[in-house]
């Protein structure tokens, strides 16, 4: 028995981990060295601690756990298609940045400002040609091609980039220039 009100955790086995990797392979991620943990119904977290699965579960049974490792992805079922999708968090992009090679959209300086305000982005004509990613999750990079700044999703006609930057990482006012 775990303490009351503790976070529900499930340590994913090799097969389940492989399934998650297969969902994000498209952007280049092929290996996840961390232990993957499902918390709640859809959140996936990466834990790099030295504790074994048994030791983690021992702690879980003893103390009310409020977080483990880093929130890296959300596993969701699309309402429209019924397809299972994995949406990466902004911090997972930093964690696995060396592996990310595909489905990257670089924003302009103006678009980046809007991105950090949590707005959806209207892609330019040249971006539409350069990034032909239809109806899929994409990795968003800053205007200077230096930083991964979040994940978004393109629509049917690749006109709008939907913004998934979480509220706590947005700003109410414009960023410095």
């Amino acid at each position: 028995m775990s303490p009351k009100r503790t976070m529900k955790i499930q340590l994913l086995d090799k097969a389940k981990k492989k399934k998650i990797i297969s969902e994000i392979e498209e952007i280049g991620i092929k290996k996840i060295p961390e232990m993957l943990v499902r918390t709640g119904k859809e959140r996936i977290r990466a834990f790099s601690g030295h504790l074994t699965k048994e030791e983690v579960m021992k702690i879980w049974r003893t103390l009310p756990i409020e977080g483990i490792g880093l929130y890296v992805a959300k596993e969701i079922v699309s309402k429209k298609t019924g397809k299972r999708e994995v949406r990466l968090s902004v911090d997972s992009l930093h964690l696995w940045e060396k592996q990310i090679t595909n489905n990257i959209i670089i924003l302009t300086k103006e678009q980046e400002e809007l991105w950090f305000l949590g707005k959806n982005i209207e892609l330019t004509q040249s971006q539409k040609q350069k990034y032909p990613f239809e109806k899929c999750f994409v990795v968003v990079k800053s205007h200077d091609d230096k930083d991964f700044i979040g994940t978004g999703k393109t629509g049917d006609k690749i006109e709008i980039l939907y913004n998934y930057l979480p509220k706590e990482r947005r700003r109410k006012t414009q960023l410095i220039k």
Binding site: E34, A46, F47, S48, G49, H50, L51, E55, V56, K58, I59, R61, T62, L63, P64, I65, E66, G67, I68, G69, L70, Y71, S89, V90, D91, H94, L95, F116, S142, D147, I149, E168, R169, R171, T173, L175, I176
Partner: protein, 337 residues
């Protein structure tokens, strides 16, 4: 500039005058001149210091990025290039920068960085941060451990757990388990049910906050001697319970952001009397003062001289207290709490 500064200080002095009892205690600790210096600086703003999050970016690159914003950046300690002081940033500009949103740095007062610089967590170690929120020290430890080993970061308050989790996420920390439990109960339960023991422990105890007057001048109004006595009791319990969870040969830091001896040296004196421990000498590139061995007619162990007191006027920081403890054996004279 001087005029604006003066006005800011004068405004604070009027709004938040120090209580007589507080002034008297500081005079006992610092003498007339020292007390004057202490209160003078307590009504000014601290410099903007940050810690580069080496999990995500290296100090050289971060410094270059800051310079592009037109900020003046200094690295006050050669051996700790991750610590930077920023000048010429407009209000709100630092926290609003892309690098901050992405977790490339943590806005942290220099004094609050000291416990982890003294504890020196290493990769693969098992660490307990007993009173962890908002997470400045947990994230600092994780960076020093290169996201390996494991940190148990505990916080009793639900609201503060949210802040802790949010900072851990922003800094990309993967080696931490966050728990929410009253500190003493957490230690007792871990000991009883898991027999797990830690290589290193940080007890950055909740305190009366006499050292943080520069950022929260309201503390001047809230200060009262009864509160100090009450908090000191909790601190003794927390530190004692934590020591039981430390491996023999392991190290524990006891720190507070207050200067009241009841919450500092007297807690250490209590530990010395009840546990088989050694107080270790600390070397840091800052101006420090020794711990006080005598307070209100009470003689404390001479060992508490090795504790470090950091007064705000000595290094233009906040006030702080740090002690490094080494556990020599499991011997304990305390009854079960």
């Amino acid at each position: 500039m001087t005029e604006t500064k003066k006005t800011y200080s004068e405004h604070l002095k009027e709004k938040y005058p120090p209580k007589e009892g507080f002034v008297k205690r500081m005079q006992e600790l610092l003498g007339e001149k020292g007390t004057e210096e202490f209160f003078e600086i307590s009504y000014t703003q601290s410099p903007s210091s940050i810690r580069c999050n080496t999990i995500k970016i290296q100090p050289t690159e971060l410094k270059d990025r800051f310079k592009k914003y037109g900020w003046k950046v200094t690295q006050p300690f050669e051996e700790y290039p991750e610590i930077m002081i920023i000048k010429d940033a407009k209000p709100g500009e630092i926290g609003n920068s892309r690098e901050h949103l992405l977790g490339y740095f943590y806005v942290q007062e220099i004094s609050s960085m000291l416990p982890m610089l003294v504890l020196k967590p290493k990769p693969e170690e098992f660490i307990l941060d007993l009173c962890a929120s908002p997470g400045s020290k947990t994230t600092q430890a994780a960076a020093l451990m290169e996201n390996t080993g494991t940190i148990i970061a505990n916080e009793v308050s639900l609201g503060r757990v949210g802040i802790l989790n949010s900072n851990i996420e922003r800094c990309g920390i993967t080696n931490t388990i966050v728990t929410r439990k009253e500190g003493v109960a957490l230690c007792n339960q871990l000991l009883k049910k898991t027999q797990m023991k830690f290589d290193k422990i940080l007890v950055d105890a909740p305190c009366s906050g006499e050292g943080t007057l520069r950022k929260s001048p309201k503390t001047f109004l809230m200060w009262n001697p009864n509160m100090i006595k009450k908090i000191a009791k909790t601190q003794r319990k927390l530190a004692g319970a934590a020591l039981k969870l430390l491996k023999v040969g392991g190290e524990m830091i006891y720190s507070t952001c207050t200067l009241a001896p009841e919450e500092d040296e007297m807690v250490i004196d209590f530990l010395i009397r009840n546990f088989d421990i050694e107080i270790q000498t600390i070397n840091l590139p800052l101006k420090f003062r020794c711990g006080v061995c005598e307070w209100e007619d009470k003689q404390l162990s001479k060992e508490v001289k090795k504790c470090l007191r950091l007064y705000p006027q000595d290094n233009n920081t906040d006030g702080f207290f740090v002690t490094k403890i080494k556990k020599l054996s499991d011997k304990c004279l305390l009854k079960e709490q």
